[in-house]
């Protein structure tokens, strides 16, 4: 079911596919969101599958008391809907009694709850009446039928935006940086904003439920992550204006990103140079040692997080890698336009997935490195191909100047490992015991 569409940019036609999608659902974004917002608890209303997904995906990051849980629907819940709201109230009471320190309770919808049309917003409204102001309750959907991986964060931020306070006449928030960033990156960016003399910068999400920005006409916002289509629309509907830029990956990406902000806020050229000069130099220097590993290497991206166009642009323009195919679970044309325009003409872009066909294409192209999910990585490695598991890009500080080298290193690691291991996979498979 391949259909060719003209993407309306310099790249080749977009391959759009509908088949098996080998991706995470939006629930997985809870894994980083619950660490970021430190007084929030994420309660998934779903099935045993959802609970199992969360603990499998959370992997070794298991706490005996995590700040997320699943209200598992049972047979009797499915029998009558009225009963289910009572059940949920009971679960929430139990939870809040156990964790009275929780300030923000987030109800997260799943596939089963969406399919039976369980009205979470009604439940959130009702629970808010009972528990506010001690505990704020909000909701969003992280279901697989609606969201892919990082889109869960998009929906969470949208929910936050929808109930964020309107900014007053003082207009305290001037710039919102939207998209969950590692704390260290957030701190670096804050220092750079100080150096640029830009005041009133707030991050969305904040580190606690109290630290959420106010929004109003005159608020400007910039996306730090490429997967925030819905959140951007919600911000715009509140009167905020988007600053357009490519994303802050690599030295060029970060410079372009800060330049777009600086231009919006009328920062003089020399001040911009003074603030970014040293970190730019550092970023370039850090990248240098990785270039020999990446120049001319052929890369193939499977869809995962929507970071793929930005990662491909970084690899191509800052490390000289060659890009064979850029897969993305979803392409937000407007937000990705800048990234796609920087890819060489003819680069294959794919949106959606038929994993079997994509595997066929990857095998045929025989790239030097395949960026893919963990369900595919080991099987590819066993075929003698090199892979970089893509989830790591969502869990590692990669944005900004100081991380430019680290970002390149993530791609280099499998290549370097290949060169270090003396025994290849040429051996016979482990002999069975009989």
């Amino acid at each position: 079911m391949n259909q060719a569409f003209s993407a309306g940019c310099a790249t080749g036609p977009t391959i759009r596919e509908r088949g098996q999608h080998e991706v995470f659902c939006g629930l997985t974004s809870i894994i980083w969101l619950h660490r970021k917002v430190q007084d929030a608890f994420f309660l998934i209303v779903g099935s045993r599958t959802c609970a199992h997904l969360m603990q499998s995906a959370a992997g070794v990051m298991i706490f005996s008391e995590p700040r997320f849980a699943t209200a598992i629907m049972e047979e009797r819940d499915l029998a009558g809907m009225a009963d289910m709201h009572d059940e949920l109230d009971g679960v929430v009471d139990k939870l809040l009694a156990r964790r009275p320190d929780i300030k923000m309770l987030v109800l997260v919808g799943s596939c089963p709850s969406e399919v039976i049309k369980f009205d979470l917003s009604k439940a959130a409204e009702r629970l808010n009446r009972v528990h506010a102001p001690k505990h704020r309750v909000l909701c969003y959907s992280g279901s697989g039928i609606e969201t892919t991986f990082t889109q869960g964060e998009d929906n969470f931020l949208t929910a936050l935006v929808n109930e964020a306070p309107a900014s007053g006449p003082q207009n305290e928030t001037k710039l919102i940086v939207a998209g969950c960033l590692p704390d260290v990156v957030e701190d670096q960016f804050t220092r750079l904003f100080d150096d640029l003399g830009i005041e009133g910068v707030q991050f969305l999400p904040g580190r606690s439920s109290a630290a959420m920005p106010s929004i109003g006409p005159g608020t400007r916002f910039i996306l730090a992550q490429p997967y925030l289509g819905a959140a951007a629309a919600a911000l715009q509907s509140r009167g905020a204006e988007r600053i357009n830029s490519i994303f802050p990956l690599g030295e060029q990406g970060t410079t372009a990103w800060f330049k777009a902000i600086a231009d919006t806020f009328g920062v003089p050229e020399d001040r911009f140079e003074a603030a970014t000069g040293a970190p730019r130099k550092r970023a370039k220097a850090a990248l240098q040692s990785y270039l020999p590993w990446l120049e001319g290497r052929r890369m193939f991206f499977f869809p995962d997080s929507q970071l793929e166009p930005s990662l491909a642009r970084f690899l191509h323009s800052e490390t000289g890698a060659e890009i064979i195919e850029v897969g993305s679970p979803y392409l937000h044309r407007e937000h990705a336009a800048g990234e796609l325009a920087l890819l060489p003409p003819g680069t294959a872009i794919s949106e959606g997935q038929d994993v079997d066909l994509q595997i066929d294409r990857a095998r045929k192209a025989d790239p030097d490195l395949i960026v893919c999910g963990m369900g595919l990585a080991n099987p590819f490695e066993a075929e003698g191909r090199l892979t970089k598991w893509s989830i790591e890009f969502a869990f590692t500080p990669i944005q900004g100047y100081e991380q430019a080298g680290d970002l390149a290193e993530l791609f280099v690691r499998p290549l370097r490992r290949q060169s270090v291991l003396k025994t290849g996979l040429g051996f016979e498979e482990g002999a069975p015991c009989s």
Partner: protein
């Protein structure tokens, strides 16, 4: 609705995947929403499988719900059969698809595929992973092995091994160990299933004289059906531990009509001697809390009590289907079995029992880490480190050797234990420090020394806070002089002694009165 932080078992379709992934030439088409492919990671990452599990997901999305998800399913079936050319096809639904009621079985029938199609009915909102695996294996065996003719003459020493699966705890090595043990004893193992078997192998199941069920949770249903359909007897003694392995060998030989001679591999058993050697004397009466799947929990309790000389102070399982067996086993140790799938309840039970060692699953490892009690893993669910590269069975004589090492390892060694009770205030080697051979694994100990107020240590964290007020300062100080690994028990004994005799507050006298009282 059930509030769940962690689950001991996945949904039933994960059980079905385990059976499909165990076998050759079987493919599973799973009607499931986008995202359910996370289950592939269990196989490619935790088990480090080198190929994709043989599962095709329909991965429908919200926009598909308006149109026909049934058509998506049919297309996926067609494509999967064309591409992977399996000899048998499993079709089923995940929890969300179950709500759509597309009837994968009926749909697959309309496709006129020329291979056996096994529709799976797995009620996701009632049942769980292990049940799903057992049901899938049973349905597959029925589909492949029904209407077979049992050969006229069957060699009495032929048998099948049933139950080992992909993602099973140490199943890979258990099969090696038990197969070798049976063969040494003159038995002829025909088919091992589902692990490594093809649909054709399942069709050959009735050609053996009897079946050996290594993992009853997975293969009990199938073995009972084979007995009903073909009169095949089956043996379900689980050979974990030395005595059970001996019994297993004796029973297998008897079923095969062989003379009851001792197993030639007895000399591989080192557990018996290791446990007898005087270095192990200090293991006597160590309190151990056991939780896991039914088979491993029951076996562990038997080894702990009879072969290592521990005192079993708690026994439980998350498998309700096998609750009766675990209750019966618990009775042998004078205990009430804990049957729950709520890890918070397990945590409370561990705190209450105050064990010196926890034998459990991955969850108990986390609980034990928090409570700073030594722990070893004996059962699924487990993480990647329990799919080791080295040979490490749990079954048979080598399995017993592995068990001796891995259960004793987390405990503090004898001399260290003595020194601790003689000199309490050593600046390096004190209550807060864990066993020296475990140092690298226990960074928590050092940080605890810095952050915890003086005098707080291991079992104080698992003491119910209310009890603190019952004690005089002096008695509390005296209590601290008792070695930390038995201090929790001493505290509990003293408190129950005080309650029984109406003593308040607890003084140093009370402490020693209680000690004398319980010594009787």
């Amino acid at each position: 609705m059930q509030l769940s932080m962690w689950t001991y078992e996945g949904p039933p379709h994960v059980g079905a995947m385990r059976v499909a992934a165990s076998m050759k030439d079987v493919h599973y088409v799973l009607h499931a929403p986008q995202g359910d492919t996370y289950a592939d990671l269990l196989f490619t990452m935790i088990e480090r499988r080198d190929s994709r599990p043989p599962v095709t997901y329909t991965t429908f999305q919200a926009r598909d719900l308006g149109a026909s998800t049934a058509d998506i399913f049919k297309t996926a079936c067609h494509d999967a059969v064309d591409r992977f050319k399996p000899r048998a096809l499993l079709v089923g639904a995940s929890c969300t698809a179950e709500l759509l009621q597309d009837d994968p079985g009926g749909l697959a029938k309309t496709l006129d595929l020329d291979i056996p199609v096994v529709p799976l009915e797995l009620p996701s909102y009632q049942k769980k992973e292990t049940w799903g695996a057992a049901e899938t294996f049973y349905q597959l065996v029925r589909a492949c092995a029904s209407n077979r003719r049992r050969p006229e003459t069957i060699a009495a020493n032929t048998c099948n091994i049933l139950g080992p699966t992909s993602l099973g705890f140490r199943n890979r090595d258990d099969v090696c160990e038990i197969k070798a043990l049976l063969e040494e004893n003159g038995l002829n193992v025909r088919v091992v299933a589902p692990l490594g078997a093809s649909p054709e192998d399942l069709a050959r199941l009735p050609e053996a004289a009897f079946n050996i069920v290594l993992y009853p949770e997975i293969a009990d249903t199938a073995a009972r059906w084979l007995k009903k359909a073909y009169g095949m007897p089956y043996l379900s003694t689980v050979p974990i531990g030395v005595s059970e392995t001996r019994r297993f060998v004796a029973e297998a030989r008897a079923l095969a009509g062989l003379e009851p001679v001792p197993s030639p591999s007895e000399n591989k058993d080192r557990l018996t001697w290791y446990s007898r050697s005087i270095d192990s004397t200090y293991l006597t009466g160590k309190r151990v809390f056991i939780f896991g799947d039914a088979t491993h929990a029951i076996a562990a309790a038997r080894i702990a009590a009879n072969e290592l000389g521990f005192e079993v102070c708690g026994l439980g399982t998350y498998m309700r289907e096998f609750a009766r067996d675990v209750r019966a086993a618990a009775k042998d140790y004078g205990l009430e079995a804990l049957i729950t799938d709520d890890h918070l309840v397990v945590e409370d039970a561990i705190i209450e029992a105050r064990p010196e060692l926890v034998l459990g699953t991955q969850m108990e490892r986390h609980i034990a880490k928090r409570l700073r009690v030594p722990c070893a893993v004996i059962s699924s669910p487990v993480h990647v480190q329990d799919f080791p590269a080295r040979y490490s069975p749990q079954m048979g004589f080598e399995g017993a050797n592995v068990i001796f090492d891995s259960w004793v390892h987390p405990l503090m060694m004898g001399l260290e234990e003595h020194l601790l009770s003689m000199f309490r205030d050593d600046f390096e080697f004190n209550d807060g420090a864990t066993a020296s051979h475990l140092h690298a694994h226990s960074p928590a100990a050092a940080s605890n020394q810095q952050t915890a107020p003086a005098g707080t240590s291991v079992e104080d964290q698992i003491t119910l806070p209310a009890s603190a007020t019952l004690w005089t300062d002096e008695a509390e100080k005296e209590l601290k002089k008792i070695p930390f690994f038995v201090r929790g028990k001493a505290r509990r004994n003293t408190e129950s002694f005080a309650t029984d005799n109406g003593i308040h507050p607890i003084t140093v006298e009370t402490l020693y009165d209680a000690k004398a009282h319980f010594a009787r």
